[in-house]
């Protein structure tokens, strides 16, 4: 890998780390970060494929409440580097995904460390606020974001230092029963993310929707967009019918007056 590629990979990793906490542009999602790493190293297709596989696994991963999800930012970045350094092409996908999981756990500890350091930095912000110095508040905010970026950029740089031949030997020494088994595990692990999401959303009124969705998915002619449209329509119909039952005159009227502007915005997407 050329020096320029390496630098670009570290930059991508830095962005992924920042986004891992910000959760705005989604640079940390494997679909984006693996693709970018593939792009800067000249293995675009390989990066996209890895991104797609990891994205499927991580679809339901989100940090909410007590359920802490594994850190996808480190997992995606590091496994993309391993895949490309390993040089096995699409055959390496299974083992790269397998490596991603322990890395996702390791990433959790790094996040915890940074969030603890940030407690101290917030006190520096307090001090800056007491002096009325908004520039310093801005500065410390930037420091925090950069720390989050380094959280992924440093491990990525360390991985790049390991010579590609060692990575290749490591992957090559993996027996095929292990890597094939890992690939099979990767296909099943997707269920964990979905289970997390369902546990958060499930209530008695939504289970029929789950059943219909499951049955309809067997019709392979329907694309995901079509399934989404059916789901949204059913949900809106249900809501409308439910409203009608509880008295149209009073309730509906007041709801329409106060709720429409925000409702329109929310419906727009």
């Amino acid at each position: 890998m050329s020096a320029i590629s390496m630098i670009l990979v570290v930059i991508v990793a830095f962005f992924a780390g920042m986004e891992g906490i910000l959760d705005e542009f989604q640079f940390h999602q494997p679909l984006v970060s693996c693709t970018l790493i593939g792009l800067v190293t000249g293995h675009l297709t390989l990066g996209i494929m890895l991104g797609g596989s990891l994205q499927m696994i991580a679809l339901g991963w989100a940090n909410i409440g007590a359920a802490v999800a594994p850190d996808i930012a480190l997992a995606a970045t590091a496994s993309a580097i391993i895949l490309i350094q390993g040089g096995q092409g699409t055959h390496g996908l299974g083992s790269a995904i397998a490596f991603a999981i322990p890395l996702a756990v390791a990433g959790l500890f790094l996040t915890m460390i940074v969030r603890t350091i940030t407690v101290a930095i917030v006190h520096f912000m307090d001090a800056a606020a007491a002096k009325g110095n908004s520039r310093m508040i801005d500065f410390w905010q930037m420091v925090c974001i950069c720390l989050q970026g380094l959280r992924i950029a440093i491990p990525a740089a360390l991985l790049l230092i390991i010579p590609a031949s060692s990575v290749r030997d490591l992957l090559g020494s993996m027996p095929s029963w292990l890597s094939d088994g890992m690939t099979i595990g990767g296909g099943m692990v997707v269920a964990v993310g979905y289970a997390m999401v369902i546990n958060m959303m499930a209530s008695r009124e939504v289970w029929p929707f789950f059943a219909i969705g499951f049955v309809i998915a067997a019709i392979t002619d329907l694309t995901l967009i079509a399934i989404g449209a059916i789901g949204l329509s059913l949900a809106l119909m249900y809501l409308e019918l439910d409203k009608g039952g509880s008295g149209k005159g009073n309730n509906g009227g007041s709801n329409n007056n106060t709720g429409d502007p925000l409702g329109d915005i929310l419906d727009d997407y």
Binding site: V122, A218, L232
Partner: protein, 304 residues
């Protein structure tokens, strides 16, 4: 007081909205999003308050505890901007009122943001992109990135503006049925799509062979009797298209039997098992590692 009324221009509000992109940057265990919140408010504070004591008070007021879903913070920011503007113009809005609005809104709004964005929109848009990406199609990642950011930025900007215009009146809306409806629609649609994703993308294939049946003559392609060269290939493809089997022996695996019952039954059961384990407070990481072990062991013994 009437002679010089300060108000926030659209560019001030855009600046605040852009900064609120970094809301979670200084997320910490003590006061969570407080640093990012103060950082977002700074352009507005500096515009509204000219005296140093007022600015210091405002910075400190906005370094108080705050935590919600990063996108639904936008309407809260909008309302807070409106309140700060009134205060700067001499209206009797005290610290307690501002903090009260922030805390009062963040709870119910987080309850909307999580199911809508993390459980409905991201799984759907992500699955759409990922399903294209699996075959190496660049459209997948691009689609995901573009759609997501249009939705996100549109939502953040419009709800911030909505909050700014509605001001403190927005709390009346919050107690109404609107938010509840949005959450309900999101979770219904989310469940619907998640179920479809389970059927399509959780992959488990049981390989044990249930039966081997030797097929009757005429039910399979007789490779020896095909013409030579390209014509033979053509004939073979035509025969296959007309429903002839490729091999002499019809092999039925356990998976074929399960699929004829209900496609996706095993993935569904696996998902239910994961849900049950999660409810038993088993860490998701332990479950993930366990599944990988099952995958390897199952493959070695020839089950998967």
């Amino acid at each position: 007081m009437e002679e010089k009324k300060v108000s926030l221009t659209k560019s001030d509000r855009l600046r605040v909205a852009w900064r609120s992109t970094f809301l979670q940057g200084s997320w910490n265990y003590e006061r969570m999003q407080n640093g990012g919140w103060c950082y977002s408010m700074i352009p507005a504070i500096n515009k509204l308050y000219k005296k140093k004591e007022d600015r210091i008070a405002a910075y400190q007021r906005h370094l108080e505890f705050f935590n919600t879903h990063p996108y639904v913070a936008s309407p809260v920011i909008g309302v807070t901007l409106a309140l700060e503007e009134e205060r700067a113009n001499g209206a009797p809005v005290d610290d307690v009122a501002i903090q009260g609005v922030k805390v009062g809104m963040m709870g119910p709004l987080a309850g909307v943001g999580d199911p809508v964005f993390w459980y409905t929109v991201r799984p759907i848009v992500g699955a759409l992109g990922a399903s294209l990406a699996l075959s190496g199609n660049i459209i997948g990642p691009i689609l995901f990135f573009v759609i997501w950011n249009i939705i996100r930025w549109g939502f953040m900007w419009y709800t911030q503006e909505f909050g700014y215009r509605a001001g403190s009146k927005i709390t009346e809306d919050l107690s109404g049925g609107l938010l509840q409806s949005v959450t309900r629609v999101a979770s219904m649609m989310g469940m619907f799509v998640i179920a479809a994703l389970i059927e399509r993308w959780v992959v488990i294939k049981f390989t044990p062979v249930v039966s081997r049946i030797k097929q009757q003559a005429g039910a399979y392609i007789d490779w020896d009797k095909l013409p030579k060269g390209a014509k033979g290939i053509q004939a073979a493809l035509q025969q296959q298209a007309s429903g002839l089997s490729l091999t002499k022996v019809k092999v039925t695996t356990l998976q074929d039997n399960l699929d004829s019952l209900i496609p996706g039954l095993v993935p569904l059961l696996l998902t239910f098992l994961c849900m049950w384990l999660l409810k038993k407070k088993v860490s998701p990481i332990v479950i993930i590692i366990g599944i990988f072990i099952v995958g390897v062991v199952g493959h070695v013994v020839g089950l998967l």
